[in-house]
Symmetry: C2
Subunit: 356 residues, 2 copies
């Protein structure tokens, strides 16, 4: 198997590592940055770097294009002009409609692995980045069946779960669960930073829930401006939906409708639980909260203890007290039995613990 | 010093523990739940429970009312009718205007400690819950000076940082940094749960950034319905502001204004940095991201290593890979020198690490 990778950052580099280790593939790569190619070779993500995009793909059987969303269509077209007829080309961009609409070639299949958005750079590449990760593929009516099948099989061998999806559905879904939350985080920090300007020079004090809610605020513009623009109609729909929902809650507030506010809030609690559960085979997600001294060693020991007992922590949050010496650790545990076990183990350590 | 506590949950119980341990106070308490009073006595948060609210406060020098926001004004009035003339009464509610407007008595000072919102129940009470915590006080022009001074001094002795603030400013600030983020989290889960209903039966796959953004969705209605309603005009202002900001971003998207989107996103990054820094004396907050195997032991060892080296982790987030076996840990470290030290220490452990 001869694979080519155009763009060797975190995703491209991880594909290279996995293809070499798991498929025994011969991997050639190219990147606008010669330093990235050098690092990728040194890390074993590439067998060799090529002098040009065209040289990198000249005799490939599969090409992965890991370029920024804004440059995808043009880069994929360049690749298509340079490859042999029996070669499949895919990309890893976070939005799919624009590239799928721009590239009509039957050898191209759009793709998007749900992995690795939190870091950048080939230094963070890992051969198992895609293990059990959903990897969306967006074939069209004109996609060559044998090439799609080859790509699908390759992704399985890389450890991923290839999942065919319509490009439009993909983009609408990502607008809801990723792009809108990023926009909203930006709005939250902007309004908070300015909320008190009329009354005081001081910035307001914020707590852990504000930090959680705004953690993705101001994510890397080099990536996100492209994503926002490529998916702008779907994102505008989500913005309009969110605006409508804010308006509905505003109306409940205006009417001082306590029952309505409670029902609205309880529905959100249920929605979050269902969304978390949909991610997991492990059953109902239980939220536990334990009061602990906020020494690094304590959370460490708790995590070790639960890990040793085979309890899988789905999600975790620390809420240090203002003095940083005490705090609450929230743990989300999937499955009734593991949650019971976690409760018992934490109590055995002498920490007050309860279901949230 | 004779102190009374009306409502012995997390906050009331912690006040009792701290008043007994740090002030040597004699603490009497009452709660609508006899079981809570019993637990509070067993935990040492009260010297004794009283048979009624009136009996609990009859010879008090200071009374803390820790009742739900919706019951505050009525409970405070009952207390004021039962106390001696030279007794100061305060509360711990999350919104301040309604109770301050309803209670004109010069012996009452509104209060709100920024502590302990993450758990409930006297089982989680701690004598040091308020150590170094901001404790807002909302005196008015009619507040008796000597009583305010007594309360202020008591709070200092409990370990807190009493901070006088206008009730309206307090409520506007909390609307921006706490109440609106809760509303927005609810909106995010509601739209995501329904976004795909037209196209599929399936709930969308969500990632760690969605979990972070919606962690407070559906917070306890028994507390939050009151908070939303008591602060509804300030919250409506924030909703309108957020709606306006969503509209501005929508306009940038509609116009496909890449420079505008980038500037908007970069401004949010800067706003979040300033808000985080405002919390801390430690200087600029640096965000580091390290790739680690997602075994509990690894994050534990990292935290222990940094703790041993005196590096204070301001905030922390885990982003497990879909396979739960690998992941990225994000660390926010305050101060240039500690951040450098953390980078070096993490690299020494053999993990790829970089500034975000």
């Amino acid at each position: 198997m001869r694979a080519s990778i155009i763009g060797v950052g975190l995703i491209g580099g991880s594909i290279g590592l996995a293809a070499r280790e798991r498929l025994g593939a011969e991997v050639t790569g190219w990147d606008p940055s010669p330093a990235a190619v050098e690092t990728a070779c040194a890390r074993g993500a590439l067998d060799r770097g090529a002098g040009s995009l065209e040289a990198a793909v000249a005799d490939a059987q599969v090409v992965f294009v890991a370029a920024p969303v804004g440059a995808l269509a043009e880069t994929v077209e360049r690749v298509l002009r340079a490859i042999p007829p029996d070669c499949v080309v895919t990309d890893v961009g976070s939005t799919k409609r624009s590239v799928v609409a721009a590239v009509a070639d039957p050898r191209f299949v759009g793709g998007h692995p749900l992995a690795g958005a939190e870091t950048a750079g080939v230094e963070h590449a890992r051969a198992d980045l895609f293990q059990d990760a959903v990897w969306y593929l967006t074939p069209t009516e004109t996609t060559t069946g044998t090439l799609f099948e080859r790509l699908h099989r390759l992704l399985r061998e890389l450890g991923a779960k290839p999942t065919a999806i319509d490009a439009a559905t993909h983009d609408h879904m990502l607008a809801a669960v990723s792009h809108l939350p990023h926009v909203v985080a930006n709005v939250l920090v902007a309004q908070a930073a300015r909320a008190l300007e009329d009354e005081s020079e001081q910035l307001p004090a914020t707590g852990p829930s504000f930090r959680d809610a705004t953690r993705v605020a101001g994510a890397n513009s080099a990536i996100w401006t492209d994503i926002y623009l490529a998916n702008r109609d779907a994102l505008i729909e989500r913005i309009d939906d969110a605006t409508r929902r804010l308006g509905e809650f505003r109306a409940l507030l205006s009417a001082a409708d306590a029952d309505g506010v409670t029902a609205w809030n309880d529905a959100a609690r249920e929605d979050r639980r269902r969304l978390l559960e949909a991610q997991l085979a492990g059953g109902t997600v239980h939220e536990l909260r334990a009061s602990v001294p906020n020494e690094p060693g304590v959370v460490a020991r708790l995590a070790l203890e639960l890990g040793r007992a085979g309890v899988n922590i789905t999600d975790m949050a620390l809420y240090p007290a203002p003095n940083q010496a005490e705090g609450v650790v929230a743990l989300w545990i999937a499955g009734d039995e593991p949650a019971e076990r976690a409760l018992a183990l934490i109590a055995e350590q002498g920490f007050p613990v309860a279901r949230a």
